[in-house]
């Protein structure tokens, strides 16, 4: 993503610099700083500067005030020689990291708010992105927009993941750090000396566990009893995937007749299975209200229940970026640093405040004053703090400073000359 004009780049860089120069602002100091690799992008070039090592908080602070990174990263891994080339770094271990990104979620709104934009005339449209602007042949760019629904879905995935980490893997909250990515998702870091030494294979097993990949419901208590055709299944209160499957099926039973889920069930169940459940939905919900009654309603075959359970697995799984967690050399955004695509802070979220976190309010760190006049090529509706803006198309608007930083970083607006 690029800025529309050089003045926009300087505006955003100046805002970032003023933030990093505030004496009270604290960048989260990574544990074992001397064993980490650091990397960053500057505003002027789209090149990552990497293989850096820092000794302490002072050198970390100087990096931000001197270089003013557009994006800043550190390695989830610990190395003997973090500044050496990759093959000579000497891997010691790595935090277990998870990335939940709205990009990877099957949200329907994505097609509505991700768009291409002509940086010359403001023409825009949904994907697929043309090679050049169909109107003026100007340069077009893909814009990934942030929306309330996407980020709510991402938070739901985050809550599921935290449930897996705590209740299944037994990882204590003191070892878990959660932060907003600053753009369209959340990061979770597990820093525990015992787990840090896990290799790629072990991490793959954890990924498979939280995503339900390769899960066979018969190993979780759902099977036909020997000698009869009655179905035996897990209870709501049971731990691990067993309880998740039971609770997931109950949730699905409740949604069967909801018109907003019709397309979902049609896509994921065969028409016959869907019809059989739908016809008996009211009775089933009643029967299942206190505890699961697997195999209830003789017209519904055991295979149908198993299909519904498999669907429940997909629903209960945490939708994470599998590549990030299995990569033991990953560079990941530094916590409490600004995201160059939004100007929002990759804010550390207190564990007990994950549910109440507002990604359009809490990570906004710039002041509202002075107001700034910007020319918006195009942008859909969005919110900053409590106020909604847009949609705008080829118009000049005066917005609070914090909103202007967001719009300029997103590459949809340029400073208006009358500022």
């Amino acid at each position: 993503m690029s800025f529309i004009a050089e003045t926009d780049l300087q505006f955003a860089r100046g805002a970032f610099r003023s933030y990093y120069e505030r004496p009270r602002e604290q960048i989260e100091m990574p544990r074992k700083i001397e064993s980490r690799e650091f990397a960053y992008f500057v505003f002027e070039e789209n090149i990552m500067v990497r293989h850096l090592s820092l000794r302490d908080a002072n050198s970390l602070g100087s990096l931000f005030t001197d270089r003013v990174p557009r994006h800043a990263y550190y390695s989830s891994a610990f190395f003997h020689s973090p500044s050496a080339p990759m093959e000579r770094k000497g891997w010691i271990g790595a935090e277990l990291v998870f990335d939940i990104d709205a990009d990877h979620l099957p949200v329907r709104c994505k097609a509505e708010h991700d768009f291409w934009l002509c940086k010359n005339c403001g023409e825009h449209g949904p994907k697929p992105t043309p090679k050049g602007c169909p109107k003026c042949e100007g340069r077009v760019e893909e814009i990934e927009w942030l929306c309330e629904l996407c980020l709510r879905e991402a938070r739901n995935e985050l809550l599921k993941l935290l449930d897996f980490l705590e209740l299944s893997l037994g990882i204590g909250s003191k070892d878990i750090t959660v932060n907003f990515s600053g753009h369209r998702g959340y990061h979770v870091h597990v820093d525990n000396d015992h787990l840090n030494s896990m290799d790629q294979h072990a991490r793959k097993e954890i990924v498979d566990y939280v995503t339900g990949n390769g899960l066979d419901v018969s190993y979780h208590g759902l099977y036909l009893s020997q000698g009869s055709s009655s179905l035996i299944g897990p209870d709501y209160s049971e731990p691990s995937w067993r309880g998740r499957i039971a609770r997931g099926v109950y949730d699905l039973l409740g949604q069967l007749s909801d018109p907003s889920y019709e397309a979902y069930f049609s896509e994921n169940l065969t028409p016959k299975t869907y019809r059989r459940f739908l016809k008996r939905q009211e009775v089933l919900v009643k029967l299942w209200s206190s505890h699961p009654v697997w195999g209830a309603a003789s017209a519904i075959k055991p295979d149908d229940w198993i299909k519904l359970a498999q669907l429940a697995v997909r629903r209960q799984a945490a939708n994470i970026d599998t590549v990030v967690t299995t990569d033991v050399h990953r560079l990941i955004r530094m916590i409490n640093t600004l995201h160059g695509k939004t100007g929002l802070l990759g804010l550390k979220i207190r564990y007990d405040q994950v549910e109440s976190f507002d990604p359009f309010r809490d990570p906004v760190v710039f002041p509202d004053r002075p107001p700034v006049k910007v020319k918006v090529l195009y942008c859909p509706e969005f919110r900053v703090k409590e106020k909604s803006y847009g949609p705008y198309h080829n118009q000049v608007v005066e917005v609070p400073f914090s909103t202007a930083v967001f719009m300029v970083c997103k590459g949809v607006s340029t400073l208006s000359s009358g500022r």
């Binding site: 498979d208 990949n213 995937w241 599998t322």
Partner: protein, 254 residues
């Protein structure tokens, strides 16, 4: 190994507390004996999940995957035969360590002829694979790679991991860097300089880095790229599947 099998048989006859004690005293394995009822099952042991993953990774059956285990507060619940199976792996590891520490151990005379036979079979197989690696047969691509390839040809945007999978696969079955680069030029976000850099990195051409192997079926499953079909049978890597298909095609044409 016979010794670990024997150990396994003996442990199955011991009380659970004894198995726990032997596992801890001899191997430092924190296997805990208990009685834990879940549904219709009664579990006899539990083990920390990180120890479990490390050891159970050597079993290929889906029943050993962590996702198919009852995992609660970091403990994997196990039936006695499963727990003893884990101890058996520890015994194997220890025996192998002792052998390695001893230094150069030569197999007994009567085994040597069998080993020579096995070695020659492996050599013939390797040569066969190298022979087919000189050509590229589009029809022999396994379903997972074919799907990524098709999406690329149609100019669809691909995830970083899908690009890595395709590139490492194609380089390993004999396509040149230039051929791979020309394929990627169909992508809407194609950046020649960046693509060239990445292809060279995967091919092992930068800074003396080794050539990357293509991801295994298991890895592709984890990342949601596996499209396992009947055709895949029990193959564990797309490369092996490709070579098998190439050989079949050659035989049909012969």
């Amino acid at each position: 190994m016979a010794e670990s099998e024997r150990c396994c048989e003996l442990l199955l006859d011991e009380p659970n507390q004894v198995v726990e004690r032997i596992a801890d005293d001899t191997f430092g394995l924190k296997l805990k004996a208990l009685r834990h009822v879940l549904g219709t099952r009664v579990y006899d042991f539990c083990l920390d999940f990180s120890d479990y993953i490390r050891l159970a990774s050597r079993f290929s059956s889906p029943s050993w995957k962590l996702v198919n285990k009852n995992l609660c507060l970091g403990q994997v619940y196990l039936l006695k035969p499963e727990a003893v199976g884990i101890v058996k792996l520890h015994v194997e590891e220890n025996i192998l360590r002792v052998i390695n520490d001893t230094g150069n151990v030569s197999p007994p005379q009567f085994l040597k002829q069998y080993l020579a036979g096995i070695k020659s079979i492996i050599t013939v197989k390797k040569k066969e694979e190298e022979r087919v690696a000189t050509g590229f047969l589009l029809e022999a691509l396994p379903p997972c790679i074919r799907s990524i390839y098709n999406r690329l040809v149609e100019g669809e945007s691909l995830s970083h991991f899908a690009r890595f999978t395709l590139t490492s696969f194609l380089l390993n079955v004999g396509l040149t860097r230039r051929e791979v680069l020309s394929l990627f030029s169909r992508l809407p976000d194609f950046d020649e300089h960046l693509s060239q850099y990445q292809i060279e990195h995967i091919a092992g051409g930068r800074g003396g880095v080794k050539k990357y192997t293509s991801p295994s079926c298991r890895t592709l499953q984890t990342h949601g790229l596996c499209l396992r079909t009947q055709q895949c049978l029990s193959v564990r890597s797309p490369i092996k599947m490709y070579y098998r298909q190439v050989r079949l095609t050659e035989r049909e044409q012969a």
